[in-house]
């Protein structure tokens, strides 16, 4: 009974803590709120990321003690791990040095799992006579489809097979229809967690308001933040992250005494530049909170544009990469025109390039094309000024470009066959590279970008 009380309390707390999710929480309580009630065989909870699925379910079942096992399917990448973790959780068994890191049981198949599951349930039943529900929760349930196609259908039928008071709860970002490909599926109860509306988001974010801060003032800030970011990003977590990063900057003028809390316009102007920066780097987690704090204002105003892409390569390697870029983005039939050294060809080239620039169905948009290694090497030897010998070093550099994923090998793995590659860098980077070696790439590109 103690547990039951705690659970009821927990539901109350959750309702308070998750504004906008009252409906779902109530529904969940109806379904599984009473631990001594007969539970539905399976529930499928779905909805976008950052809609509170996992955290709500997790906090509900944190009070269920050993009657529930909350499993993240990414952790359990093999069925064995999945089963054994489930059994461990239900039996309260923890691997530690004293038991030589053993699990509750060695369990590799679903039939073994069912055997041990009934064993655990029977054992516990003896202790208290009441009917108790067991809950197997699988977060990121879409992963279950990957390991074994029949695993999911088998799991869904566990309550039926064991004849126990067990419910299977699946949590996923994906709708149920996508799970239905296999036979023998039991239809679960569907429960959707819809995306938050603006007011709901603001309601949630206002909860992050620092204790010593006026709520209205903070509300103005987050509303501004929401308006700015709402188009590219509705992910609640990301918005909260941004709020956390940007709020200290927002109140900076106040702390410095340059503005008061009522100077909204002034504060807006001040924060604008930071917003712009943050918008650029949205989702990238480019700047950690600590770095953000340390950066000076000037660095925001004039950010070093290419600092993200810059790194050093050896001189010839740069040319190798440029050559592979050319090989990837130039059609092979124009090679003679671009890379032959006679003057006659050059004249023709300049005339024809105008025609080309007229039809701007960009080659760039098609992405890199596959090229054979020999062609790239031929271009390489033609664009490089000094005569160099084809030593092993060049081959080694090609290999190292491959390991850096700047070149991507395409096609069959036949060692003897000519290697075919794609160039995996963008124009911006190749431009930076060719600038650093004083090479005019636009002269050799089929399409000047």
């Amino acid at each position: 009974m103690e547990i039951q009380n705690e659970i009821d309390e927990q539901f109350e707390i959750l309702r308070k803590n998750y504004p906008g999710r009252e409906l779902q929480i109530t529904r969940l309580q109806d379904l599984i709120g009473d631990i001594h009630q007969v539970v539905p065989p399976s529930i499928f909870i779905f909805g976008d990321s950052a809609t509170g699925k996992t955290s709500i379910v997790r906090s509900i079942f944190s009070k269920y003690k050993e009657n529930a096992s909350f499993i993240n399917c990414i952790d359990c990448y093999t069925p064995r791990l999945l089963f054994e973790h489930c059994l461990n959780k239900l039996s309260g068994y923890i691997p530690n040095p004293d038991n030589l890191y053993s699990n509750y049981a060695h369990c590799e198949t679903i039939s073994e799992f069912i055997h041990f599951l009934t064993e655990i349930c029977d054992k516990n039943k003896n202790e208290d006579e009441e009917l108790t529900g067991r809950y197997l929760i699988f977060d990121n349930a879409e992963r279950l489809r990957e390991t074994n196609p029949l695993l999911l259908s088998a799991l869904l039928r566990v309550p039926e097979i064991t004849n126990l008071n067990i419910t299977i709860i699946l949590i996923s970002n994906i709708v149920w229809e996508k799970f239905r490909s296999q036979t023998g599926m039991l239809e679960p109860i569907l429960l959707q967690f819809p995306s938050y509306s603006k007011s709901e988001i603001l309601n949630i974010m206002i909860r992050d308001c620092p204790k010593d801060e006026n709520k209205n003032f903070y509300y103005i800030f987050i509303e501004l933040l929401y308006d700015v970011f709402n188009k590219p990003c509705r992910n609640l977590n990301e918005l909260r992250h941004m709020a956390m990063l940007l709020y200290p900057k927002y109140i900076e003028p106040i702390q410095e005494g340059k503005a008061t809390r009522n100077d909204t316009v002034k504060l807006f102007k001040h924060i604008e530049i930071y917003f712009k920066q943050a918008l650029d780097k949205l989702y990238l987690r480019n700047i950690s909170s600590s770095e953000w704090k340390n950066k000076s204002f000037e660095e925001y105003v004039e950010p070093t544009v290419n600092s993200d892409i810059r790194f050093e390569l050896p001189y010839y390697t740069k040319f190798l990469l440029i050559a592979s870029y050319l090989a990837s983005y130039n059609p092979p039939r124009y090679d003679l025109r671009f890379f032959s050294k006679s003057s006659e060809n050059k004249r023709r080239k300049s005339r024809k390039q105008e025609d080309v620039s007229g039809s701007k169905k960009s080659q760039q948009l098609y992405g890199p094309k596959v090229f054979p290694m020999e062609r790239m090497l031929a271009i390489f030897y033609s664009i490089i000024d000094d005569p160099i010998e084809g030593t092993i070093d060049i081959n080694r550099q090609i290999a190292s470009l491959k390991t850096l994923k700047l070149l991507i090998k395409v096609g069959n793995t036949d060692v003897l066959n000519q290697m075919k590659c794609k160039c995996n860098v963008n124009y911006e980077f190749i431009q930076y590279l060719s600038k650093s070696v004083h090479f005019d790439i636009s002269r050799y590109l089929y399409e000047a970008v």
Binding site: H106, L313, L416
Partner: protein, 912 residues
Amino acid sequence: MVANSTINITEAYDSLSQACFILWPTDKKKHKDYTKNDGFQSLMDKTETEDFINQRHDKYYKIWNNIKTKIDKLMFDLNLSATNGIFNFVSSKLNNTDNADSINKDIQLPFKEIPTGLIFSGINPDDKRMYKQIVSKIKTVPTNHVAVLESKDCINLKNTMKIIIEQLMETNLNEENENIIDATEFYKKSKIKKSNKAPNYDPYILLGWYKHLEGVSKINNNTTSPVVIEDETKEKENNNNDNNNNSTNQSKAKHKLILFIEDFECFDVLLLQDLISIFSGYSEELPIILLIGIATSLETFHQSLPISSLSLLQIEKFKLLQSYECINEIIQKVFIETIDDFKLGVKPYQYLLDNFNFLNLSVDSFIRGLKFSVMYHFYSNPLSILSSIDPTSSEMDRIFSSLTKRHLDEAKVLTFPSFKFYINSIKSTSPKLVYELLTDDKVLKDSIREGLINLHNYHIKFRVGFECLLELQKLYQSPLFKKSKRALYLLSLQESLYDSAHVQLLIKRSKVITYPIIKKFLETIKLNIEKDEFAKKLLENFVTILNDILLKFEKFDENGNEIKEEEKKERIKKRGKQIKTEEVETKVKKEEIDDDNSYNDTLYKREKVDSSKENKLKNVEEEKINDAIIINENGKRPQKTIYDNVLLSYSNSNGTSTTQRETNISKRLRAEELRGYETMVDEVNQFINKFFKDTLRCYKEFPYYEIIYYTESSKLKKSFSAQPRSVIHTALNYPNHYLNCDCCSDNDNIIESSLHDTCIAYKLYLECGKLINLYDWFVAFGNILKDKIDKSKKKEKEQNKRIKQKQKQEAEEIAKSKEKEIKKKDDIIVLDSDNEIENVILINENKEKGKFEEHHSSDEDNEEKEEEEEEFNEKEIQARFIRAISELQYFGFIKSTNRKVDHVVKLTWGSD
């Protein structure tokens, strides 16, 4: 090794797929001979004695170890700051996770960010070394548990997890095993529960282990089980260490798990995603810190990971030292700062540097090349025993006295370029010395010794000069005037650094540098010289000049009170310099005559230094008047170049003359000042010129430099820049290079039949297009071979004919001789029976004729056989062709294809 190979040689041949076998000589004595002194052999036509070989060998090791320790230390020091940065990150993150919660309670995200350090190492093949350093540094704190992940081990998640668990728990697992042996309880348990043992890739193991670890460190009083005691003592040690290390977080030293992903680019992205989400899921229980080594850029990192993974990371960035800086420091440390050590000549240095710049940016490969050069220098040069020691030391005496005549002869040959140059240069002045050098060994010995000492001194001077040059470079802001140490050193090897355009430019520009800076520069030169005792001795004259200049400077500094006036004083100081020279003194005289105020000076006229000082003092006063005017007119311009100031004052003086504010005296003084200024700048410039000219010379100017410098680059090229394609090409195209036969020429146009079969097939292959028709190839091949066979047949025939002719001749001769004999006999037995004998001869002749006829008929038989042989040849050609092309296939030139029947695909593009 030897033992293994001798046990079963046949085993060595078992793996026939491997193309290369090493069979150690079975005879142990022989083996010893080979590897004695690592294969250092007797040089100078084997006249070198064992003692010298040993010397060279020992020296090589000594020098190389010396260089290696230097480089290792250097690399360690260079990376120290980055290492410490990462270390601090790791240790701060431990506490931050606790503190952050308490401080930033304003926002709690539903997930926890994993603190992540991105380490940008650049595409640097040597990053392993640095990573090791970082890891070992992190491990100095015993509560840090590090797992290093390499992409080659982490094929899938299972594998990766297993490696992580093994690496993190490594030490503890060993402990456990001991415990199992100790305590039978555990043993029993293990037997019972064996089947339940969690799979070795189960993250729960980690969880349990970590909980246990934490539990142990918390419960200090519990002493029931031996495990706890052990761990406890360890824990105490940990705490002690922590106390020593950082006093701030002693008691709450939390165990941290650090995952070090070495080569991010090579990792499977999906695997990393999973790994990140798994560990973020456990981040409540396990304090995980990720360190990720990235060779390329942040952009790749962003591109590879999806938002869901990125949002789980709390990123901080670290940059490791780029290899450019490393190589600069290494060059300075190894080549410039050491005096009596191994040096690289221009060719090998350039080769190594080019390789570095153009091809790999790898410090390690530079070091490898350096090692090879050191080794080869001592391996091939019998005079190398003279290098790498202080030529003034007593050890050198010993070596010199032990030198044989043969060594000295060798010296003339080995050091030929510099020796010849030297001889030519002194030929006209002291022909006697030349004669003696060429004939008298003792003179040569002394001369070599002297040459070495000269080189020694040159290195000392060069070190100082180079440092000063770097200082001079620092004075300029523009990157145009900056060259890296490695490039400067290359210049210095190519020609005299002083003559290089770059240095000339620097020196010229030094005229335009602001005054206080140039003064500071001169001071640093002095400091640099005086740092080194030897250098101080060698560069004494420069020091005295410098001292003079600086002394005067200082005097005037003391006088100055106002900032603006200081500038003027500087100018006066310049004058002071100029006054020092006698030429200037005459000027002073003039001045004295002209100036009414300077009567006193005449008294001190003869005492150079004093008088000049006095003059300066006087001038100061006079200048002060001028200064007042200039300052008024110039307004406030405290920091200008000397040049500008003087020009300004000059133009001002023109201006002032119109405004009639100047007296005659001040006018004269101004002109004086300008002249003084010019000479002053000239003097400084002269000094800089002279100084650099003396210090920054090229090693090639010194005779016998070949003893110390390793100048050959061809061996390096051969050893480190293999050219697989062209090697194969020459081998197949010009086999005579390898076979040392005379039968074929180097002619590319003709495919000679005398070539090896594979070569013929290869030459035909070169003429073909992308797809090769096997039959055509075979026919062409056959035609060439037929020529050969025909030729050989012709030869055979000819030989046969010759043999036959010979036989004929012999037979005829025999017949003739017989005839003669018979005739002789006839003569004797003429009287007996002429007729009978004649009959006999006839019969013999007939017999002979019959034989000839027989021969002819056998020739005809041969022709019939030949037709048969032709068929046989066809088969032979086929067999040889198949062998040749299968060999080509084995080399990777062709491949069978399904695109066309009877065709093969050409896999290379032919000739290089």
